[in-house]
């Protein structure tokens, strides 16, 4: 059978993540010291796991309401109120999803029609582009720059807007750069959008992970931006719950109603066990966040200091759990650098180019690892650079 004839050309046309081959090599190799993962090394705090177990023991094994458990939606609304000053009606403006990913997918599908342009600041997480294409939309990358601390500027945004622009993705705190957007940065963006019909999908999955006394500001809390913003949140990064697959979207009722429809047909409802665990997380998890954040901060300082000392200039990430050192001084492309490093020292980093063309010249090093692990990896990178010099 000629499957090319039967498969959807939009899907077959999606580039498989260019990095797949490199990832496969890393997975196969022995004794790899990886700084390559995008998930916490911590396990889900025990009291949260226990809440999931207790829900199973008491027989909570059925579907929940499509939108998610009412109690959970109420807790999500309360949380967004107390943390970010956002006001959402738990009955009509909150949707519990299978991870932040499904919320992003649903938001894009609810908003984007064929031919619409979706602005995506880059480097950024890899899903916005393909999901946009699945809706027939046109992804338009906006390269952010190291000299601006990888923040999106009003000027860059203005230059990217056309009469076809439908959605702006706001991926901050950012994977892979660790960049954040502060209030005045967001205000400048809001000013550009004011008076337009451009919608915003603000992917704030790393909202709790900010450092140096900077607290996350939600784009929806700026002026009257809430009316055009869908906020994406989740439990994976905040509470080390990646495997539970639970996230949410909050936004204006008319959009959330359509997203709920998509969710209802495609998913039914998010995992019940995870929803019960998430209630516990939102009610009693603040302390866990504080502890993990403190630990990430120590690691962040170690890794940034380490790369800078090795001569791989590393901008100070203020959010998420990634560092993004510049490897241009080696004269290699980021893929070359990562591949050679992997083969010669068995250290796995992710090429910055995996996150969009503007990531070229950088590598992503996650600090979801113990201090000892990070130190060992840095030593190996140091040896690698030494050998390059002497070669």
């Amino acid at each position: 059978m000629d499957y090319n004839k039967v498969l959807n050309p939009t899907v077959t046309g999606l580039k498989p993540s260019g990095i797949r081959r490199f990832f496969d090599i890393a997975e196969e190799m022995d004794n790899v010291i990886s700084l390559g993962v995008g998930e916490p090394d911590f396990l889900t705090p025990w009291h949260i796991r226990e809440a999931g177990i207790a829900s199973l023991e008491s027989g909570k094994t059925r579907y929940t309401a499509n939108k998610g458990l009412k109690v959970l939606r109420e807790e999500i609304a309360k949380y967004n109120k107390r943390r970010f000053g956002l006001t959402y009606d738990p009955n009509t403006e909150v949707l519990v999803t299978v991870g932040g990913s499904e919320a992003i997918d649903g938001a894009i599908r609810a908003l984007v029609s064929p031919g619409d342009e979706v602005l995506i600041p880059e480097p950024s997480f890899v899903c916005y582009d393909p999901i946009t294409k699945l809706s027939g939309g046109i992804p338009v990358g906006i390269p952010t720059k190291a000299e601006n601390n990888f923040r999106l500027t009003a000027e860059e945004l203005k230059n990217a807007i056309t009469d076809k622009t439908k959605v702006l993705i706001m991926p901050f705190p950012n994977n892979p750069t660790g960049a954040i957007m502060e209030r005045e940065d967001l205000e400048a963006i809001a000013e550009v959008l004011e008076g337009t019909d451009i919608m915003v999908i603000s992917d704030e999955i790393y909202a709790e992970l900010t450092y140096g006394g900077k607290t996350h500001v939600s784009f929806a809390s700026i002026g009257n931006m809430a009316e055009r913003t869908v906020v994406i949140g989740g439990f994976s990064k905040t509470y080390s719950m990646t495997g539970w697959r639970l996230g949410y979207a909050c936004g204006p009722e008319p959009i959330l109603t359509q997203m709920t429809k998509i969710h209802q047909f495609a998913i039914m409802s998010a995992p019940t066990t995870a929803q019960y665990a998430a209630i516990e997380a939102l009610r009693y998890g603040a302390n866990d966040i504080e502890q993990m954040l403190d630990e990430y901060d120590s690691r962040r300082k170690m890794i940034v200091h380490g790369f800078n000392k090795l001569g791989l200039t590393c901008f100070e990430p203020e959010g998420a759990f990634y560092s993004f050192p510049c490897i241009k001084s080696t004269g290699m492309t980021s893929e070359e650098f990562c591949e050679k490093l992997l083969y010669s020292k068995h250290v796995a980093l992710v090429p910055g180019s995996a996150f969009g063309a503007s990531g070229e010249g950088y590598v992503r090093a996650s600090y979801c690892y113990s201090i000892d692990h990070i130190k060992t990896a840095l030593e190996k990178v140091g040896e690698f650079l030494e050998e390059l010099k002497n070669a």
């Binding site: 993540s17 997975e27 390559g36 998930e39 994977n175 690691r299 796995a348 992710v350 201090i371």
Partner: protein, 160 residues
């Protein structure tokens, strides 16, 4: 006083000074000075390894002793606590709320040795009304360190 340094040292007292400084956002000299000061003030009282003694054949025995006492009119619980703390066999002494007064952790080479210490030294002390000895049979977690087998890192090596 530097809370961040204290936290780091309580996680791992063997971090290199240079690493401690980086993680606490200090210069090496500053970190060194802070630590020396906290030692001098008695805020940092010592540095010890967390050892899984059960892996040795010559494992120690330890017991938690509940002590009920009569507080002395002049000194309350203090004098007695200080006296108990003087014994080398005693690892820690805590004043407790609830059904008894002092929790005393005692170590020895054998059960017999610990039992004899309680019978001959603790029980007869003036002011001690009663003792109850609970031997530790197995340690699963010691000073925040889990001693039983964990799950390890089961994450893949790469993910975006």
């Amino acid at each position: 006083m530097n809370i961040k340094l204290l936290k780091l040292l309580s996680q791992n007292a063997r971090y290199d000074l240079s690493d401690l400084a980086v993680m606490a956002g200090l210069t090496e000299d500053e970190a060194k000075k802070e630590i020396a000061e906290m030692e001098k003030e008695g805020l940092i009282r010592g540095y010890k390894a967390v050892i899984d003694w059960e892996r040795l054949d010559s494992a120690k025995v330890s017991a938690l002793i509940e002590l009920k006492v009569t507080p002395q009119s002049d000194f309350g619980f203090e004098a007695l606590a200080e006296k108990i703390a003087k014994y080398g066999e005693v690892e820690s002494v805590y004043l407790m709320s609830g059904g008894f007064d002092f929790c005393v952790m005692v170590k020895g080479k054998t059960f017999q040795e610990v039992a004899m210490f309680v019978a001959k030294k603790l029980a007869p002390m003036s002011g001690v009304v009663s003792t109850a000895t609970h031997f530790v049979l197995r340690r699963y977690k010691e000073l925040d360190v889990v001693l039983c087998e964990g799950t390890g890192d089961d994450r893949g090596r790469m993910s975006l």
